[in-house]
Amino acid sequence: MVAPANNAVDRLLAALPKRGDGGARFAELGFPTTRDEDWRFTSVAPIAELEFTAATGDAAANLEASVFSEIDGPQLVFVNGHYSSELSDLDELPDGVEISNLAAAVFKPCEADDAFGALNAASFTDGARVCVAEGVCFKTPIRIYYLSTGGDGATANIRNHITLGPNSKATILESWTGADSAYFNNAITELSAGDNAHLEHVKFQNESPAAFHVAGLHATMGRDCRVAHHSIALGGRIARNNIRARLDGTGIEAMLNGLYLPHGKQLIDHHMVVDHLQPHCESHEYFNGILDDHARAVFHGRIHVHKGADKTDAKQTNKNLLLSDNATVNTKPQLEIYADDVKCTHGATIGQMNAEQIFYLRARGLDEDAAHRMIMHAFAGEIIARIGCEPAREELDRLVWDRLEDK
């Protein structure tokens, strides 16, 4: 029996800590439905059916077998949405680099125009705060781990603030993993990159296949900055990424690069809105997906070129490889252009293995199975190869390979 949605809202708010408006905005909006254009292909009914509890810290949690563990440098760890000072390591930060949990910092209330954002604003417990000061080039990757050890319905709202000052540089590696239960993480990351800032942001999402993951990334970019966001999405029963990029300066280059590998009954959804507000900016979205079993994926890429954002170069590709007849993809590019002399391209493909490629490989001596694997690896490798941080790239390449071999 499906619980009525408003009942779910009440149950959820009753379970969670409150701040700000206490959840009024979320109650007003309610859980989105598939009648909502932005949620047409992703029903969150399985989330609304959870028996919600507030996720609590867990002193027994550990980082064993975590990704990026070979990389040295600062690490922030959150367990069930709560900061773990035991597992975190923030020693020896150079001048101009501040890394802490958010609760320790002053926080100003925020507004949200969507339900999950409103929920997050009303009940987040903690999250990461990274500030890199003007002109500081921090070469060491900053690692942020989100571990979930709670049971079914354990709900954590997490909020992160990443701020790069003008002319600064940083690399951030995020990892999301958890116990094999139906927990629910709802995160918002506010990212601000100042003029001429360089940021590489890697998100490795490998939540439990039973878990729910909704994450907003709200990025605001200044003049001439270079931002690359990589979304490597493996986990979650439903995993939804709301990526909003505002290119609000001239000469920006933004890249959104994603790979999703759902299998079983997973649904992985990337929902992007890229706003070009100023001239001479480039945005590139590259998303590849490999789907097996009854898995589903959604790619929604909206590019809005505002009046005056002349000479915009916006490129979007979404390629999907279906390994099973029962897997489905919904891909929806959406271009709205109100400026002049704009280059906007988009392309989407959904298909099985390319027979010509397979034949070419077999004609060079590889057996059929090896040929299939090579193509599959290539499909993923094309995305992984865009990750600049070499140790992260190499490790993710291995992890993705293992995942595909496992299937």
Binding site: Y360, R362, G365
Partner: protein
């Protein structure tokens, strides 16, 4: 010694017959050229020999070194020594060229009971071969054929031939689209790989290639049939008279 024997080979796609009965015998040590206008079935013949299952083989037989070639999977054909250089080499984004070439070489070696080459030994072998084809080593770091120029793609095909060292190489219009300098490099590569115990089947649209690779026999393919065979002078005659000579029907009754 007979290496390849094609008898009354008929093949097509979706009920449309493209090859209408091909007979061709190639012995070890020989170079054969097949010429013919566009659409005559040259690539179909090449792809059928390599094992492309998009084409249905109706009648006929192909024997390669005593084996029924048509019974073999494509990968077994190349491991057994029948190599096809594609007219249109396929781009495979994301597959590193070096990785791909080593996998190919090792697949063939393992088939013959030889140990797989490690990365170092493979690199040594490859360095020798890329010099022969005057290819830039940086190409090897890129994805297979992706972003290669037309000439680079064709030279990369011959590089693969050099690495796999086949008994029988089928070259499907490897010369098409090459300028004269690139053509010379490719022809030199192919000639260098020629030995008394291997054979080559050179498919070309232009007589020009045969100035550099001298065939023992020339066959004219038209509308799915070999309508004329002769020595290398046939290519010159064809060049002089043009394909009209063939398409006008004069030869078909011959």
């Amino acid at each position: 010694m007979k290496m390849l024997e094609i008898k009354n080979l008929k093949a097509g796609v979706e009920g449309k017959e493209i090859l209408k009965g091909i007979d061709l015998t190639i012995n070890a040590g020989e170079v054969h050229a097949i010429m013919g206008p566009n659409g005559s079935g040259k690539s179909t013949l090449a792809q059928v020999l390599a094992g492309r299952d998009a084409f249905d083989v109706g009648e006929g037989s192909v024997t390669f070194n005593g084996q029924d070639l048509l019974e073999l999977a494509p990968e077994v054909r190349v491991r057994e020594g029948l190599f096809l250089a594609f007219q249109y080499p396929v781009e495979i984004p994301g597959v590193n060229t070096t990785y791909f070439l080593r996998a190919a070489v090792n697949a063939v070696r393992e088939h013959h009971g030889e140990a797989a080459l490690n990365a170092v030994d493979f690199l040594k072998l490859m360095r020798q071969k890329i010099n022969l084809l005057e290819l830039d080593e940086s190409l090897l770091k890129r994805s297979v054929n992706e972003g290669f120029s037309g000439g680079e793609k064709k030279r990369a095909e011959i590089l693969q031939m050099a690495l796999l060292n086949p008994a029988m190489a089928v070259l499907d219009e490897t010369d098409s689209g090459l300028d004269i300098d690139a053509l010379k490099v490719v022809a030199n590569g192919v000639n260098t790989l020629k030995r008394a115990d291997n054979a080559q089947l050179i498919i070309t649209h232009y007589q020009r290639l045969l100035d550099y690779i001298v065939p023992d026999f020339v066959h004219v393919l038209y509308d799915g049939r070999i309508v004329k065979s002769g020595g290398k002078e046939l290519a010159l005659e064809l060049e002089e008279k043009g394909y009209d000579w063939i398409t006008s029907g004069e030869l078909q009754t011959a």
